[in-house]
């Protein structure tokens, strides 16, 4: 497989022409070096123990041609939220589908392809691109770094307050006989700025493909960033998401991840709190059915004092669905007065659904408040009986309890159209 990949990379370099000399390409080469030493995660890899993606992908997909895919036009009007009040960007098969045009211009907001940004904002690219993903050594993030050549660059300038959410629509097709896609973002929220970004993943055709995403995000001092991911692909889609968020002093970031459909989904969400007084919220909701396999790995790395992080992830698993939660909290020696909380709760609707939940706290400072808890169980029989004894049908009673379970996360969504969509999906799924 690694040989296939090396071949692929050679072809890819030829396609790049002159671009194989620029700084971006040096980052690719570094990732290639690291990747070729290890390849995709092996069976015994601790991080991928419960999600054997390496083996599955290796069997299912061809890694011999990860060359550039062409621009494949999609029909925007079929896409979820296409008429929402937002700045829209369409990314199909990892490639920006439409020109990034003037409708995307707002005061203090810069949206370019990464290629364009390389010319216009070389300093930003040099400072950040690959800087976070390469440090982490995740094989999928490296794969993305090696083969992505377009992507989205978003810069929110100092003190800008963006009036509408930025909505990145990701879709996949298999028109081009290509079934592995890399999509990539670099997002810089400068100091004092405020913005909301949504990444919405869907797929039109029920074809098998593997989409491999990386977002690198820098949130500068005192900036506010709300970040939403909606994962609603098909039950044949394999998806890996590596997201790196570096927070600077006094910044506030809230991340939301809603996973509704996908064959195998693996999310690695990494927060690095790089200075004092950062505030971080992580909300997750996954509703899995059929043979969905949903794996959320999170890291919150408290490096400095007086930061706060709070994580609430909830899952409902039906049929033979499987889910994995691994939440790491690191509190480094300098991170005194840290407040870090984590909770993962799951409801299994069948005997055949399964959950593997593992909180992992490593605390090196002594003056901290940390707590974590995870629960996995069936719906509460006592509660069900109580509701039914008042004349409420079994299915309504189940629906009410499941809604009650997810509502505290749903209530945190600050964007109406997104809230309504997720709430409505919940209604359809849970009643």
């Amino acid at each position: 497989m690694i040989d296939q990949l090396i071949d692929s990379f050679k072809k890819f370099e030829l396609q790049l022409n002159g671009a194989s000399k620029n700084s971006w390409h040096q980052i690719r080469k570094k990732a290639m070096e690291s990747f070729s030493e290890k390849g995709l995660p092996k069976a015994k890899n601790e991080e991928y123990r419960y999600t054997q993606l390496g083996r599955i992908l290796d069997k299912k997909f061809q890694f011999s041609d990860l060359s550039m895919v062409g621009r494949d036009s999609i029909h925007g009007e079929n896409i979820l939220f296409h008429d929402a009040d937002a700045y829209h960007i369409y990314i199909n098969n990892g490639i920006v589908d439409k020109e990034i045009n003037s409708s995307l211009i707002a005061n203090g907001l810069i949206i370019l392809t990464l290629q364009e940004a390389l010319g216009k904002y070389p300093k930003d690219i040099e400072a950040h691109l690959g800087n976070y993903s390469n440090k982490n050594n995740d094989a999928f993030a490296e794969l993305n770094t090696i083969f992505s050549y377009e992507g989205v660059f978003i810069k929110v300038e100092k003190n800008a307050n963006i009036d509408k959410p930025i909505l990145l629509h990701y879709s996949g097709t298999d028109h081009l006989n290509q079934s592995i896609y890399q999509s990539r973002n670099l997002i810089i929220v400068e100091s004092g700025a405020q913005v909301e970004i949504i990444e919405s993943y869907s797929s039109f055709e029920k074809e098998e493909y593997f989409s491999n995403h990386v977002s690198e995000i820098v949130v500068e001092a005192n900036a506010h960033f709300n970040y939403y991911k909606l994962q609603n692909q098909s039950n044949k889609t394999y998806h890996v998401d590596n997201t790196y968020i570096a927070q600077e002093k006094d910044s506030v970031v809230t991340s939301y991840i809603f996973t509704l459909e996908g064959k195998i989904i693996r999310n690695n969400l990494n927060f690095a709190l790089e200075d004092q007084n950062c505030e971080t919220h992580l909300f997750g909701l996954y509703v899995a059915h059929g043979d969905n396999h949903i794996d959320n790995h999170t890291v919150v790395n408290h490096k400095f004092a007086n930061c706060f992080s709070n994580q609430i992830y909830k899952g409902i698993l039906d049929d033979t669905a499987k889910a994995v939660f691994n939440g790491k909290i690191f509190v480094q020696p300098d991170a005194q007065k840290t407040n870090a909380f984590q909770s993962n709760k799951n409801i299994l609707l069948t005997d055949t659904a399964s959950m593997n939940s593992k909180p992992q706290l490593e605390i090196w400072a002594d003056d901290v408040k940390c707590s974590h808890g995870c629960t996995t169980g069936q719906l509460d029989e006592e509660q069900l009986f109580y509701l039914r004894s008042r004349g409420i049908s079994k299915s309504s009673a189940r629906g009410m309890l499941l809604h009650a379970f997810v509502d505290d996360v749903l209530d945190k969504i600050k964007i109406d159209f997104l809230h309504d969509f997720v709430a409505n999906e919940m209604n359809n799924r849970l009643d």
């Binding site: 006592e382 509660q383 009986f385 509701l387 039914r388 004894s389 004349g391 079994k394 009650a404």
Partner: protein, 253 residues
Amino acid sequence: MLKIKNLHASVAGQQILKGINLEIKAGEVHAIMGPNGSGKSTLASVLAGREEYEVTEGEVEFLGKNILDLSPEDRAREGLFLAFQYPVEIPGVSSNNFLRTALNQIRQYKGLEPMDAVHFLKRMKEKMSLVEIDQKLINRSLNEGFSGGEKKRNEIFQMAMLEPKLAILDETDSGLDIDALRIVANGVNKLKSKDNATIVVTHYQRLLDYIVPDFVHVLYKGRIVKSGDKSLAMELEDKGYDWIKVDVDGVVS
């Protein structure tokens, strides 16, 4: 209204009810007393349809129907109501939504249109004042963080909202202070009519000063071992259960 014949029931493989016979007519109030663990709550649960209790013998007819085959919700829709000894807390479910769903599913079962918001709120207000329950409690999630007394009062409030034919109050008086007891009893009395009936399961004769029973039954070791009128409750209050235990165990063993 309710006819229980030779009812046997077991839970977790253990026989708890060992041949209960009881008949209740419209307009009547029956008190069921008895020492802890004698099977009072089990009887209430079996009537309400809790699934882990298995009926091994006997019949229960409610308003002419065999209810043992009905789901818990259908029993409620037929007009049966159980005020739980230990009401559960259901975080995230609002009292409002809960009661509206219950009321309308009962109405639907009876072929009635759903009650509109205006009438629903009117009824809420009316019944809230009847059982003197605070709006603040109703605004919270169902029973969440309620005190013991508040939970009991909420049971009576739900009963008032749903207007059942037969209400079974399982130790609704336990743990209530005199004021709360009076309010609860008052609520029950106001809802009493010649068309409905009440079973009060209690430990204490005290409640029966406020809700006057037509019949008093003593349940012991899964059987009704003694029945009488209100004076039986007085006697139990005076003498405790020991004389009954001696009576029964003497005969049985």
